[in-house]
């Protein structure tokens, strides 16, 4: 508990390790490869942002991690460890009892609209404790009250019903519910995209404080580059079902390596710069039948023959600048293959 008091503390060992996570959906047109062999890890106290445009598979990734699988599932595989626990090996029942809410909590997109309309907000926030930990009501409500204050909700709101709260208040309540059982990892899927600018900033403030005070790890899934920088220690950029670059936030927002990362950063309008944002020409490929080579090749200004032929591996990037293999910087691009890049970089 000592370390959690130090703000922004990130420990050395990974809390969550994901290896080769795959989730394909069955459709009439064939299998949609929404998540296609994704590997990453998150350290204790670290916030990883999974950034990507709509349809890149980032929400499916959250569902695959939490085992919220759709009926038209075609394929789900991959190994996931949470600390020492191989959670991908657990039965569904054990996963639900031992991992969901208590160790990993998920705040889904627009989940503020999923609160039960006929149950008081305070009771709902206490529910994970009563259901999963079998806490007596009184103790659970006391703990819920603590979390209520932590997320910036007045205590008398515990006795209100969801319709009596504004959108921002409801989103705070959902966040309180996710935090109430003190999970080690909180996955947030577009937690603020439906909210106004000021509400958004206030909720990001709450997340930063919780991260600094309690050392909770976060995975923030979003398409919004500017908002992602409000929490990120690291950024993993997803494109067409795959991660294309994973690196520190400083690197990603400063000098990313993958051509898609660079173009994406240039498409973001900036408040204090006169330079016009630029669109990325073209469209992402269909996930029914993605290209055999690099999935970004068709839109890439730096492509060369090899890009269309075969996919690049997810290799250490950064070249000679940082001890390449030691760093956690990974790029999926032929320009950065150790034996390929030199002449083209």
């Amino acid at each position: 508990m000592q370390s959690s008091l130090q703000g922004g503390f990130v420990s050395g060992e990974p809390l969550l390790s994901v290896e080769d996570l795959t989730l394909h959906y069955r459709t009439r047109g064939g299998a949609v490869r929404a998540v296609d062999g994704v590997s990453f890890d998150v350290k204790r106290g670290e916030a990883l942002v999974i950034l990507g445009e709509s349809g890149c598979g980032k929400s499916s990734l959250a569902r695959a991690l939490m085992r919220l699988l759709p009926r038209n599932l075609a394929h789900h595989s991959g190994r996931v460890w949470l600390g020492e626990t191989p959670i991908s090996e657990l039965s569904d029942e054990r996963f639900r009892r031992e991992v969901q809410w208590s160790r990993i909590a998920l705040v889904m997109q627009a989940s503020m609209n999923a609160l039960n309309p006929v149950v008081k907000v305070g009771e709902q926030v206490a529910e994970p404790l009563r259901e999963l930990k079998r806490w007596p009501r009184r103790r659970a409500i006391e703990r819920a009250a603590e979390v209520f204050q932590r997320v910036g909700l007045p205590l008398d709101f515990m006795a209100r019903y969801p319709f009596e709260l504004s959108g921002g208040m409801r989103q705070r309540a959902v966040l309180a519910m996710a935090l109430v059982a003190e999970p080690e990892l909180v996955i947030l899927d577009e937690p603020t995209s439906a909210l106004d600018v000021l509400t958004q900033a206030a909720i990001m403030n709450v997340l930063k404080e919780i991260k600094a005070e309690q050392g909770t790890s976060f995975i923030l899934i979003t398409h919004d580059v500017a908002t992602s920088s409000e929490l990120a220690d690291r950024v993993a950029l997803m494109y067409a079902g795959e991660l294309v670059e994973a690196c520190s936030a400083a690197r990603f927002f400063g000098e990313p390596a993958h051509p898609y990362s660079r173009l994406l950063m240039k498409s973001v309008p900036r408040l204090h710069e006169r330079e016009r944002p630029r669109a990325i020409p073209g469209q992402p490929p269909s996930l029914l039948d993605p290209p055999t080579g690099c999935r970004f090749a068709a839109r890439c200004p730096d492509r060369f023959a090899r890009c269309a032929e075969s996919p690049s591996a997810f290799v250490p990037g950064g070249g000679a600048l940082e001890g390449a293999t030691k760093s956690r910087h990974r790029v999926r691009c032929w320009l950065h293959e150790p034996n390929e890049g030199g002449g083209h970089g």
Partner: protein
């Protein structure tokens, strides 16, 4: 003599009456409350505000879908209030509307050709060949080419960006003088957003039409609008040319909005942003005086909570409805607040979490 502005809104109020048991008047939602502005021909402006500030009601009032409770909208010098239904229909042909959610705005069972033919039919273009010619021209203008590939497609077969292009083509097909775009890109990805905004701007400049954006996103407006109106709780609190407003905001609400926004930067993660407490007020029973005063860091008790601030002009062309800019007042804080860092809107993050 000065040219007549394309649109003049004068003292516009759009209130929705609240009734109990169907007849007892118990109050009103003051969604638009005393808003005045003029839009020149060929100008691109943005109305910026958070949800519930009345911006959609303002749009619907401009489109002639709501009758204002008080005040009037004049289009090319003619008041909308006096228009009979035939004249109102003719007015609607002069105003294009680009909706927020392109998929929701397009009828799912019509193909692109029929979607674009609809407004032409309604407005009396009965010649089939003429309709076809204009449909093709509109698709080419929004760069859905080769046109043949798109004519027979249904909305669900198009990407979000392509759907929004069809919506824009539909808004343009009657050659309007004014296009109102209500959050035209909020449902789209970053790179597609830029494409659509560039497209709208290109068309606006080529055709010399007036474009009114409604948005909550201040970061995109700099390049696509010339003037900005900031709305809060049913009122315009500040208006100015875009660079003046973004670089030297004069109203505390605008400053708060700008301070809450970030440019992507890894340092953001270790700083808290300054956010005014509370939430926008109810439009049924808004606060007396300035509607922002309960949340305003510079509120002056006795003045801001009592008197509604009129529009002051702190700089040429820059209007702010805020008592801080009252030239008659000898307020010692006056100069501190309007110069330097605070006024630049870059105030942004102040506290450091990691320390």
């Amino acid at each position: 003599m000065a040219e007549t502005p394309l649109v003049e809104a004068q003292g516009l109020h759009t209130w929705f009456e609240l009734r109990q048991w169907g007849f007892l008047r118990v109050g009103a939602v003051r969604a638009v409350d005393d808003v005045s502005f003029t839009l020149a021909r060929g100008e691109a402006v943005a109305f910026v505000g958070e949800s519930g500030c009345g911006k959609s009601t303002l749009v619907r009032t401009l489109l002639g879908l709501h009758r204002p409770t008080l005040g009037e909208v004049r289009f090319e010098g003619v008041s909308l209030a006096g228009l009979k239904s035939a004249a109102l229909k003719a007015y609607r042909a002069r105003v294009g509307y680009v909706q927020q959610d392109p998929f929701g705005a397009l009828p799912p069972f019509l193909d692109v050709r029929r979607i674009l033919a609809e407004p032409l039919k309604v407005h009396g273009v009965s010649d089939r060949a003429e309709r076809e010619r204009r449909i093709r021209a509109a698709l080419a203008e929004v760069r859905l080419t080769p046109v043949e590939e798109y004519l027979g497609k249904f909305p669900h077969m198009l990407s979000g960006g392509q759907q929004q292009r069809v919506v824009i083509a539909r808004a343009l097909i009657l050659e309007p003088a004014l296009v109102i775009a209500d959050e035209p890109v909020s449902m789209l990805d970053a790179s597609v957003r830029v494409e659509i905004l560039e497209l709208l701007q290109g068309i606006q400049r080529r055709r010399g039409l007036t474009l009114a954006f409604v948005t909550h996103d201040l970061t995109t407006v700099r390049h696509y609008a010339e003037r900005i109106f900031v709305l809060y709780a049913g009122k315009v609190v500040e208006s100015a040319p875009v660079n003046d407003l973004l670089d030297a905001p004069q109203h505390p609400y605008t400053r708060a909005l700008l301070a809450a926004l970030s440019d992507p930067d890894a340092a953001n993660a270790t700083r808290l942003r300054e956010v005014p407490g509370g939430e926008p007020p109810s439009l049924i029973d808004p606060p007396a005086g300035c509607r922002f005063h309960p949340r305003c860091p510079s509120a002056m008790p006795g003045l801001c909570d009592r008197e509604v601030p009129p529009d002051f002009t702190p700089r040429p062309g820059h209007r702010a409805a805020c008592w801080l800019h009252d030239p008659g007042a000898e307020d010692p804080n006056h100069s501190i607040i309007i110069d330097g860092r605070q006024a630049s809107g870059r105030g942004g993050p102040v506290h450091d979490v990691s320390q």
